[in-house]
C-alpha cells in the first residue's frame, strides 16, 4: 500500500480556498479604520442570533469567556454547584471555578456526552445549573436534560464550543439552554484567525448584562455599573467570522460526508463508533473512534502518514489543576475508560476521498496484522 500523508488540520487549504474574499474583507476592515465594538459587531451579532435560532447573540473574546460571563450574567455565583462532564476541554470547568462556583462532575455515555442519569444523581440542594457540553459536535440529549432541569428547577448551560451549526430535534445548538456558549477559535468549524467567541440567549437581561460585562461593566463612557471584564471580539476577527458563517453549512456538509464514509467503512469488531441518533445533526468538529488498542493503533497510523489526536487523554478530574476537587482514578469510570480508548481521526473539510481510503485501509491493515 502506498502511504499517503493525511493531515489532521489544513488551515492553509482553508486560506487557499478563501483567499480572494478573505483578503478583501481584511482590507475593508483596515480601510474602514474599525477597531472594537463597531457597527459590524451589531451586524454579526444579528446574523449569529438568527443562525442559532435565538433572539440575541453577544460577541466575545473567547468561548471560555462566553461561559464565564454568561454564567455570571445568568446569576450563578459563589457557593453554587454546576454539573458538567469531566471529559471536556478544561475551559468548561475553569469557567465554573473562576466565577467562584463549584464544578460537580457527572459521567458520560458511550457517545461521550453527559449521561442524564448521572446528572440526576449529582444534584444536591446547592445545584444551580447543568452545563451540557456538545462534545465532538454532537448535541447532548437536550430534551432529557431539560426535563431534569425543569423537574429540579435548574438552569441549563450549553457549552457549544464544538457545535456551531449542529442540530438536535431540528433545533440548532445554542437555542436550548438559558445561554449557549460558542468558540470561534482557529481550530473550530466556524473559525476566526485568532481567539473569538460568542454567546446566544433569548433572555434580554442576560444579553444586556453580558454586553456590559465585556466592556469594563460600563453602561456608558463614564459610568461603571458593575465590575466587568475586557472581552470583546476584535472587528478584524468579526469580519472574518461573518464571512465564514456563510460558509459554515458547506463546511459541515463536507465533514458529515467524511464521517459517513468512516461510519460505513469502519465496521470492525475492534472499533466502536457511537451511532448517530435520528434526531441528531452532528457537525463533526471531531470524528472519534474508540478502540482497546488505541495507543498501538495511533502509533501505527502515524507510521502510515496519518495524523490523529486524542481529545482528551487526561480527564479534567485527574488534572493537577483539579487536585483540590478531591477526585481519584475510578471516580468517573466511563470517562476514564474512554480516555484510554478514544482516537480522533482526520475529518477536516479538505480531505480527499484518497485520504479517507488511506485512513480506512490503514486501520483495517492494523487489525488484520495479528488476526
Amino acid at each position: 500500500m502506498q502511504a499517503v500523508s493525511v493531515p489532521y488540520v489544513q488551515v492553509n487549504k482553508q486560506y487557499v480556498e478563501e483567499e480572494p474574499e478573505l483578503l478583501e474583507i481584511i482590507r475593508n476592515v483596515l480601510s474602514s479604520r474599525s477597531y472594537v465594538l463597531d457597527s459590524l459587531i451589531d451586524e454579526l451579532e444579528s446574523e449569529l442570533a438568527e443562525f442559532c435560532g435565538t433572539k440575541y447573540a453577544v460577541t466575545l473574546n473567547s468561548g471560555t469567556d462566553a461561559l464565564m460571563l454568561g454564567m455570571m450574567a445568568a446569576g450563578i455565583s459563589r457557593g453554587d454547584e454546576v454539573i458538567t462532564p469531566p471529559n471536556s476541554f478544561v475551559a468548561s470547568t475553569t469557567a465554573i471555578v473562576h466565577i467562584g462556583a463549584r464544578p460537580v462532575f457527572a459521567d458520560v455515555l458511550p457517545d461521550q456526552n453527559i449521561d442524564p442519569a448521572a446528572i440526576e444523581s449529582a444534584i444536591t440542594p446547592k445545584t444551580k445549573a447543568i452545563m451540557a457540553v456538545h462534545l465532538t459536535g454532537r448535541i447532548a440529549q437536550m430534551d432529557l436534560i431539560q426535563a431534569i432541569a425543569d423537574k429540579h428547577g435548574l438552569m441549563v448551560i450549553e457549552d457549544a464550543a464544538q457545535a456551531a451549526g449542529s442540530r438536535y430535534l431540528d433545533k440548532p445548538a445554542g437555542s436550548f439552554g438559558t445561554i449557549g456558549c460558542f468558540s470561534a477559535h482557529p481550530l473550530k468549524n466556524l473559525n476566526a484567525c485568532g481567539d473569538s467567541g460568542f454567546l446566544t440567549t433569548n433572555d434580554a437581561a442576560i444579553a444586556q448584562r453580558v454586553r456590559r460585562l465585556r466592556s469594563h461593566g460600563m453602561s456608558d463612557r463614564s459610568t461603571v455599573e458593575e465590575w466587568g471584564f475586557v472581552s470583546r471580539m476584535d472587528t478584524l476577527q468579526a469580519a472574518i467570522v461573518q464571512y465564514r458563517l456563510k460558509q459554515l453549512p458547506t463546511v459541515i456538509q463536507r465533514r458529515r460526508e467524511h464521517a459517513k464514509f468512516y461510519q460505513t467503512h469502519l465496521q470492525l469488531p475492534q472499533v466502536f463508533i457511537p451511532a448517530c441518533r435520528p434526531q441528531e445533526y452532528n457537525s463533526f468538529h471531531t470524528f472519534v473512534i474508540q478502540s482497546e488498542r488505541r495507543d498501538e493503533l495511533a502509533t501505527y497510523l502515524a507510521t502510515q502518514g496519518i495524523s490523529t489526536a486524542i481529545h482528551y487523554p487526561i480527564p479534567i478530574h485527574l488534572q493537577p489543576a483539579a487536585k483540590s476537587l478531591g477526585h481519584k482514578p475510578g471516580s468517573f469510570p466511563i470517562t476514564e475508560q474512554q480516555a484510554q480508548r478514544i482516537l480522533t481521526l482526520p475529518v477536516n473539510q479538505f480531505l480527499s476521498r484518497e485520504h479517507q481510503v488511506a485512513v480506512v485501509d490503514a486501520i483495517k491493515a492494523f487489525f488484520a496484522k495479528d488476526a
Binding site: 473574546n61 485568532g194 461593566g217 460600563m218 459610568t223 493537577p320
Partner: protein, 384 residues
C-alpha cells in the same frame, strides 16, 4: 469613512479642528497598505495561537522596556488581573491602588476576589506614597501603583515601602509606555508591569491587547500557563487558567507599530513642552509638576484650569476635542461604592482634580498650528 460636513464655525479664524484621535493619521493609507501586506503574508501561515509573530513582538517589547520577559495577553486589564493572580492574590486580600485610576485597575482586583483599598493621589495624578504606606494593614497583599496619564508614580519610594513591608508590586503602566525615572522604565520596577495595547494607547494594536513585563523567570513561566488555560503542555492542565492570549494577528500589527514608538513618544513630549510653555503663561492654568529626572510620556496631556467646565465647552466650540479623565473618580463609581463604602470627600486631591483637570490633544499627529490654536483659545477664553 464618513466625510464630515464643515461646521459653520469653520470659517471663523478662531476655529480649527484639533482632533483627539490620532488613529486616522496613524493608520493612514500608506500605513494600511503596509499592515495589509504584513497580514497577507501572515494569514496563510495559520499560526494564529501563540504564533511566531507574537514571540517576536514579546521579545521586542521586553527589550524596549528593559525586562527579561514580556507576555502577551488579551488586554491591559488582564495584564493586571493575571499579574495579581500569579502573585497569589485572592479573596480576602487587600490591594492598594489609586482613587483616581481608570476603572479597569479596580476591576482587575475585584475580578480575582481581592479588595481594593484606595489612596489619594498627588498633583501628578499618581498615588501619594505617604498615604500608601499609611494604608497598609496586615491584610495588604500587594501594591498597585498607577502611572496615570503617562506620569510616573514615585517608584523609588514605593519600592522602598514595598521592601520594608515585604509586599509585591504590580505597576499599572497601561498609560505609560517608555515613561521612566532616572532612566528606569515604567513596568520594570515592580514584580511585574502591566501594559495596554488598546487602540487609544501610545503603542497600540488593531483591537484589544495587553502585555505583562517581568524580570522574574518563575513568574513569567506561571503567567504563560495562566493565559493559556493553565496548560503545561497540550494535554496536561497544571493550574486553573484563563483564555487571555494576545492574538498573533494583533502582534503582526504590533510588530509594525513598535518601530515607531520612539517617534510617538518623542513627538508627544515635544508637543507637551510647547503646550507647557504657552499654557503656563496663563494665570488661570496650573501645570502638574514636571521633573528633571523623569520622562513623562503624556498619554494624556492634562492641566488644572479655573472655570473648567466653561473652558471645556469653549474649547469644544472652537474645534478642540477637549476631555476630562475622569469626571467621576473611580472611587465614586456606583460599582465601587457598593463594594467599598466609599463616599464623596474621602479623597480630597482626587476630588479637586475631578473639578479642575482638563485634557487637551497632544498626540504625535498634531501640527504646530493645532498646538498654537489650543494655547490661543485658552488664553482668549480667560480674556473674554
Amino acid at each position: 469613512m464618513s466625510i464630515k460636513t464643515p461646521s459653520p464655525k469653520a470659517a471663523s479664524s478662531h476655529y480649527l479642528e484639533v482632533p483627539w484621535s490620532y488613529l486616522p493619521k496613524q493608520f493612514n493609507d500608506r500605513a494600511i497598505e503596509e499592515i495589509f501586506a504584513r497580514l497577507r503574508a501572515f494569514i496563510p501561515t495559520g499560526d494564529f495561537t501563540l504564533g511566531k509573530p507574537l514571540v517576536e513582538f514579546e521579545q521586542k517589547f521586553a527589550k524596549l522596556i528593559g525586562t527579561k520577559h514580556a507576555i502577551g495577553v488579551n488586554s491591559g486589564t488582564d495584564a493586571i488581573k493575571l499579574s495579581l493572580k500569579a502573585l497569589g492574590i485572592g479573596p480576602g486580600d487587600e490591594v492598594i491602588t489609586a482613587a483616581n485610576t481608570f476603572i479597569a485597575t479596580v476591576g482587575a482586583i475585584v475580578e480575582i476576589g481581592a479588595t481594593p483599598i484606595f489612596v489619594d493621589c498627588t498633583d501628578n495624578f499618581c498615588l501619594d506614597a505617604v498615604a500608601l504606606e499609611a494604608a497598609i494593614t496586615p491584610r495588604t497583599k500587594a501594591l498597585l501603583p498607577v502611572h496615570f496619564a503617562g506620569q510616573m508614580s514615585d517608584m523609588p519610594t514605593i519600592m522602598d515601602i514595598a521592601k520594608r513591608h515585604s509586599l509585591p508590586v504590580v505597576e499599572d503602566a497601561c498609560q505609560c509606555i517608555l515613561g521612566n525615572i532616572d532612566g528606569k522604565n515604567a513596568g520594570s520596577w515592580g514584580n511585574s508591569g502591566a501594559f495596554s495595547l488598546h487602540p487609544l494607547k501610545n503603542l497600540n494594536v488593531w483591537g484589544d491587547g495587553g502585555m505583562i513585563v517581568t524580570n522574574d523567570d518563575a513568574l513569567a513561566q506561571y503567567l504563560r500557563k495562566l493565559r493559556n488555560h493553565g496548560l503545561v503542555n497540550r494535554d496536561e492542565v497544571g493550574i486553573m487558567g484563563y483564555n487571555s492570549r494576545l492574538d498573533t494577528t494583533q502582534a503582526v500589527v504590533g510588530n509594525w507599530l513598535i518601530e515607531q514608538v520612539d517617534f510617538i513618544t518623542d513627538t508627544r513630549i515635544a508637543h507637551a513642552q510647547i503646550l507647557d510653555a504657552g499654557l503656563s503663561a496663563i494665570q488661570q492654568i496650573t501645570l502638574p509638576p514636571r521633573y528633571t529626572n523623569r520622562k513623562l510620556v503624556y498619554h494624556l496631556y492634562m492641566v488644572f484650569a479655573e472655570q473648567r467646565d466653561e473652558l471645556l465647552q469653549y474649547c469644544i466650540a472652537h474645534g478642540i476635542e477637549t476631555k476630562v479623565h475622569y469626571p467621576l473618580p473611580v472611587y465614586l463609581q456606583p460599582a465601587v461604592r457598593n463594594l467599598c463604602n466609599t463616599q464623596l470627600g474621602d479623597f480630597a486631591t482626587t476630588d479637586r482634580h475631578a473639578k479642575t483637570m482638563i485634557s487637551f490633544p497632544a498626540h504625535e499627529h498634531l501640527s504646530k498650528d493645532h498646538l498654537e490654536h489650543i494655547i490661543t483659545t485658552v488664553a482668549r477664553f480667560y480674556r473674554e
